[in-house]
């Protein structure tokens, strides 16, 4: 349902992504791996419409969406859970979730969606009126994911969800991620944590310096020596 064709993108005219082509089928969990600065966040920011590509095409559900604005991408169902959570610190958990569902498509069933998200994350239900800035890292991650789910995503892109979280939280969150395809979502999982991603994603792409170095099923990628060298720069 998602196809990137020969994407070239970057900042200030300098290309960070150089000729990247990936594809995702509906209902998959696909991992996007790579060391720091390999271009992972740039890629999902391109998908979110926050970075304009220099060249290449983005096809979503068969349509070329390369020209759509960031707002239109969310309306189309492409939702990002950003790196570092980026919750609205001085708004309550409830308000953050309401904002997650502010796009026109999601707004019509926002109350129902809120109930579903709170069922999924009972911890958030307990802290509904608490300011998001006072939550712990793990709770903020739950909130960020909950916010993403409020948007009625078709494609949910998670940027480094495990960053800075305790192993218990990581396990809890990834259990939820595993359940998402059953809810009709396709997941693009961007992670630095190699082993964690290989356990939960059926297929993976490994980016190295802006290009796809390795791609394939998780176990294939795991055993490919190029994966290791992409991470260690060898």
């Amino acid at each position: 349902m998602l196809e990137l064709e020969n994407l070239v993108a970057g900042y200030g005219g300098v290309a960070v992504l150089r000729d990247v082509s990936i594809k995702l089928d509906a209902g998959e969990i696909v991992g996007l791996l790579g060391a720091n600065n390999a271009g992972k966040t740039t890629l999902i920011n391109c998908l979110s419409g926050m970075v304009a590509p220099i060249s290449g095409r983005i096809l979503f559900e068969g349509r070329d969406i390369s020209r759509l604005s960031a707002q239109q991408r969310v309306e189309a169902g492409i939702v990002q859970v950003p790196e570092g959570r980026l919750v609205f610190p001085e708004m309550s958990v409830r308000e953050n979730l309401l904002l997650g569902g502010i796009n026109a498509r999601a707004r019509t069933h926002r109350p129902r969606q809120m109930d579903k998200v709170l069922e999924l994350f009972p911890r958030l239900k307990e802290r509904l009126s608490q300011h998001a800035g006072t939550l712990s890292g793990g709770e903020q991650q739950m909130l960020a994911i909950g916010r993403g789910l409020m948007a009625e995503a078709k494609l949910l892109m998670l940027d480094e969800p495990s960053l800075g979280l305790s192993p218990l939280f990581v396990q809890y969150i990834f259990e939820i991620i595993d359940k998402l395809p059953a809810e009709g979502l396709t997941v693009l999982l961007v992670e630095q944590n190699l082993m964690l991603t290989l356990r939960h994603a059926a297929r993976c792409y490994v980016l190295e310096r802006g290009q796809v170095a390795v791609e394939g099923a998780a176990d294939v990628v795991m055993n490919d020596p190029r994966t290791r060298s992409a991470y260690l720069g060898l």
């Binding site: 969310v74 309306e75 300011h131």
Partner: protein, 288 residues
């Protein structure tokens, strides 16, 4: 003793309108990072529009708001889209320069059209007084107080409980994350600026009765608004309203108790005093 109550009452009345003016500036700053140094000149513009409508159609200022508020809101949107938006994100001082230039354009435009003589715009309530015990209040000031508080209350509710209000707060707290929610950040910025200017049009009509106006008065209002905004912590709603009341009271005390120029200095003295001991202004961490 009655002088004290008089000063207090007068200060509260005018201070509420100062607070309203500052809310407009604070909202714009929170959402676009722009401090509009032509703020006071837009107030001037609103006042002169009322004057023009009076001269042409004998409209009382309280009636001409029905025209000036929509007109100024539209002007605000146009100014933002064509003049200010291209500069957002550039050096802060460059944006300030731009708004200062705008201030000059507005002042001189008004000067060209209306001439430099102070002018009065009559209103039916102009000379009416409200007497409470020892305190004599001018009815236009009482109306200004009431309307300012109602409008500020309305703004507060809008920010707290509507999606538009939440988008404004979201853009202020993290514009990138707001965009990821599908919020049209650019549109929120235009609308907030236009709203701010619309509020100025209303405030202009509130301040107008009984006040002689002249084209160069803009700066006075800009400075007072800046004092209140900074005192209020730039973007803190309650802090700004409180700051407005404090500056209003300082001004009233100054003019009633102190002679001449010294009286006019009171707001600035109070401002400096508060900022020296509390640089963050009238803000405090929320209890949660």
């Amino acid at each position: 003793m009655s002088e004290l109550y008089q000063a207090l009452a007068q200060g509260l009345l005018i201070g509420s309108t100062y607070g309203l003016l500052a809310l407009g500036m604070g909202l714009v700053y929170g959402v676009s990072g722009v401090v509009n140094f032509s703020h006071g000149d837009f107030i001037s513009l609103g006042m002169f529009m009322c004057l023009a409508l009076y001269s042409a159609f004998s409209l009382d200022p309280y009636v001409s708001v029905l025209i000036t508020v929509p007109a100024m809101t539209a002007i605000g949107a146009v100014v933002y889209i064509f003049l200010i938006r291209p500069m957002v994100g550039h050096q802060f001082l460059m944006v300030v320069q731009l708004t200062l230039g705008l201030s000059l354009v507005l002042q001189n435009g008004i000067l060209m059209i209306f001439g430099g003589q102070p002018a009065r715009t009559p209103s039916v309530v102009e000379s009416k007084l409200l007497i409470l015990g020892d305190v004599v209040l001018q009815v236009p000031h009482v109306i200004a107080f009431g309307v300012s508080f109602v409008l500020a209350g309305g703004l507060y509710i809008m920010l707290r409980s509507t999606d538009f209000g939440r988008s404004i707060r979201a853009v202020h707290q993290n514009a990138h994350a707001a965009a990821l929610m599908g919020i049209n950040v650019g549109r929120v910025q235009v609308l907030t600026f236009a709203l701010g200017i619309g509020i100025l049009a209303l405030a202009a009509a509130l301040l107008l009765p009984g006040t002689p106006i002249q084209p160069t008065q803009g700066l006075r209002y800009t400075v007072i608004t800046l004092l209140v905004v900074v005192l209020g912590g730039m973007t803190n709603f309650v802090g700004i309203m409180l700051g407005g009341l404090i500056i209003g009271i300082a001004e009233a005390f100054g003019t009633i108790y102190l002679a001449g120029v010294l009286g006019l200095l009171m707001p600035y003295i109070i401002f400096v005093a508060i900022m020296l001991f509390r640089p963050q202004g009238l803000t405090w961490k929320s209890r949660q």
